[in-house]
């Protein structure tokens, strides 16, 4: 009978190599795991943004390399009435369109939150303006607003005989401005309505039941339950809506190209017009960069303003 002895544990298990030890080292592992994500962000997000910001400080034109000129582009924009016009219309467009989208979108969401026949079908239909490519809806609105062939003018003049002349929707500055805002509201309502509908459905029905037992009216139920409970999602949706509206490009470019008399240029369309069509890449980039402070302000205002706890608690203090 032979007796074998097991090798001692320390002899059988070899020490891990330096690579294995390196990967066991937590800080190194964190860096290794994050590097691909940071690399992707750098290449696809930071680089284009950084290049755009850099161009804003150069006199680069299409076909010619530029040199660093500091704030010269911004100084010029400060004296440019067209830039000021675009700032005014961008703010006006965003304010009115966002208000319109939220008023109608919230109302639509409240309607769709009720029980009625063909509810699912109607909810799907509401999404249509959001699904249709923006350029396609822009072309449709371009036809609707046509000075000679507008369907609205046709109805009012030839069918209902309410007017004797066509409506010149896009031929005067204020007409064109409000026409574009109407198109933007039409396009933006589904996003607001469906997002808020999702929020409405998270509110527990027991809250409403309790309120009704206490004798709360419909307005009181909206004021003290629905509205405060919706505030977090309203803040998020409004933040996104403001960003989408302020940076809108397709609707305006397809319908008016910034006309008439440059009255409907948004900062985005003016940046494109100057930077790409006009070849002034540096100046175009500067116009685009000039949008950043407005966006940051609007985002902070809507997010922090609406997300304050006092709204949710129905109280006057934070």
């Amino acid at each position: 009978m032979s007796v074998t002895t097991l090798p001692s544990r320390g002899v059988a298990l070899r020490q891990p190599g330096w690579v294995a030890r390196l990967f066991d080292y937590k800080p190194f592992l964190i860096v290794m795991c994050l590097t691909p994500a940071i690399g992707l962000l750098t290449v696809f997000l930071t680089y284009p943004l950084g290049l755009g910001v850099w161009l804003a400080f150069t006199d680069t034109t299409i076909g010619q390399r530029g040199i660093f000129i500091g704030l010269e582009n911004f100084q010029y924009l400060w004296t440019d009435p067209l830039w000021w016009g675009a700032v005014f219309y961008s703010v006006f467009y965003t304010a009115i369109a966002t208000f319109g989208k939220f008023a109608l979108g919230f109302w639509l969401a409240l309607l769709l939150n009720n029980h009625f026949p063909l509810k699912s079908l109607l909810r799907a239909i509401v999404l249509l303006p959001w699904i249709v490519p923006t350029v396609l809806s822009a072309l449709a609105f371009w036809w609707i607003y046509d000075p000679q062939f507008s369907i609205i003018s046709y109805l009012l003049v030839d069918v209902l005989h309410i007017r004797t002349t066509n409506i010149d929707f896009l031929g005067n500055p204020w007409g064109a401005r409000f026409s574009l805002i109407a198109a933007n509201i039409w396009r933006g309502i589904p996003f607001v309505a469906i997002s808020l509908l999702a929020g409405l459905q998270t509110i527990s029905p027991s809250l409403y039941e309790a309120a009704m037992l206490d004798g709360a009216s419909a307005w009181q139920r909206f004021r003290y339950i629905t509205f405060p409970m919706m505030m977090p999602i309203l803040a998020i949706v409004m933040t996104f809506s403001i960003i989408f509206t302020f940076t809108d490009f397709q609707l305006v470019y397809a319908i008016t190209r910034g006309g008439p008399v440059n009255s409907t240029h948004l900062l985005a369309t003016l940046a494109f017009q100057r930077g790409i069509a006009g070849g002034e890449l540096g100046e175009g980039a500067a116009i685009a960069v000039s949008m950043i402070p407005f966006l940051v302000f609007a985002t902070l205002f809507s997010y922090f303003g609406l997300a304050r706890r006092k709204w949710q608690q129905g109280e006057a203090n934070d």
Binding site: T61, Q64, Q148, L170, R257, V261, Q273, R274, I276
Partner: protein, 448 residues
Amino acid sequence: MKNDITRREALALGASAAALATTGASAQTASAIKAADVPALKLAIEKGASLRMLRPVRFVQADEDVFRANAAKFTKETGVEVKVDFVGWEDINQQTAVTSNSGAGPDIIIGFSDAPHIYIDKLIELTDVADYLGKRYGGWQPLAQKYGKKSKSDAWIGLPFGATAGPLIYRKSVLQSVGFDKVPEDHAGFVDLCRKLQKAGKPAGFALGNARGDGNGFANWALWSHNASLLDEEGNVVINSKETIAALNWVRELYPTFIAGTPSWNDVSNNRAYSSQEISLTANGVSLYFSLKNDPATRAIAEDSEHQLLPKGLAKISPMAGLTLNAMVFKHSQYPNAAKAFLQYMLEKDQYEPWLNANSGYWSQPLAAYADAAVWSSDPKVKIFKNTMNSTYYDGYKGPISTATGAVNADYVLVQMCAAVATGASTPEAAAAEAEQRCKRYFRRQGR
């Protein structure tokens, strides 16, 4: 590839025949074009060469069909494959810019008018091909020389393929009904006519929106016919002048006679308004006439329509610049000789004449000898487009062509100057001063 050529050739033959039938020219008519006996320029085509080309999308279907068939013939004869892509008119500038900046992409791009002057550093010279073609086909016309040659030199940087113009088109019966046989050549007479047309319920309409072709065309005409211009001969910005103020005052007087909505018009708006008989006078290319003529529902409008060169006003000749197709070969091309040989081939009589005829007058020739092509005698109402490239007016007139002249057009600076005054948004003085500020910035940055 063989099958492809056969199919395309068949298509092209059909298209050519259709185009010739449309223009009334017999397919059997012998060519009247005289080519001088000049030894052909022999370019040593690189071994294994293949070419990629971009050009603006066709306005007349036969334009594309015959162009493709000619390219296929070139492939058959030389073995050089040519891939031709057609892109929208609004996109060609951006795609050229990307090609130019990246140094990659198509070997040849046919851009518009001043494109070679914008990308001049990225292009190869085409002087040898241009000289040969000029000697063989009666010389290059003035507009072709202006857009083809580097400013103040005889070096060719682009090869113009043709130009389209936007003269007046009007309803003969409507003009006669208000006491005019044709459109007056003087400014006061023109306003008088437009007032009477408006009273008759068939007003005039000219684009004042951000319209690349028609809007810029109207603005340039308003300025040039008052002897105003963007630049002087030395390239100084002279837009803020007493001539410009006079032109803007005239626009302000004229605008109330237009149909409502012209400040929002783009390039198709006047076509639709004229076709639907909402207006009786506008400016447009020959495409409007042909679309009316080829549709039985609107043929009567075509028969009642006449073309006339834009009124001279104070200018010596009709102030009209043709939108020119201008071919460029990029330095990054691996096969520059093949590219030059291809352009030369496409402008030779055997290829160019069928293409010119197939376009029904939409493009007019850059080389003098092609003025004898059958298309120009096929329809008296088309003949007016024959001499488009004889014009001495061009975008950036009277100065040297540069990147900035194109930028001013692309940014609609002059159109918006006119629109601002027309709509009362600005005084002539203020509008001219604002345009001057904008133009000076472009010329300071890009006019080099």
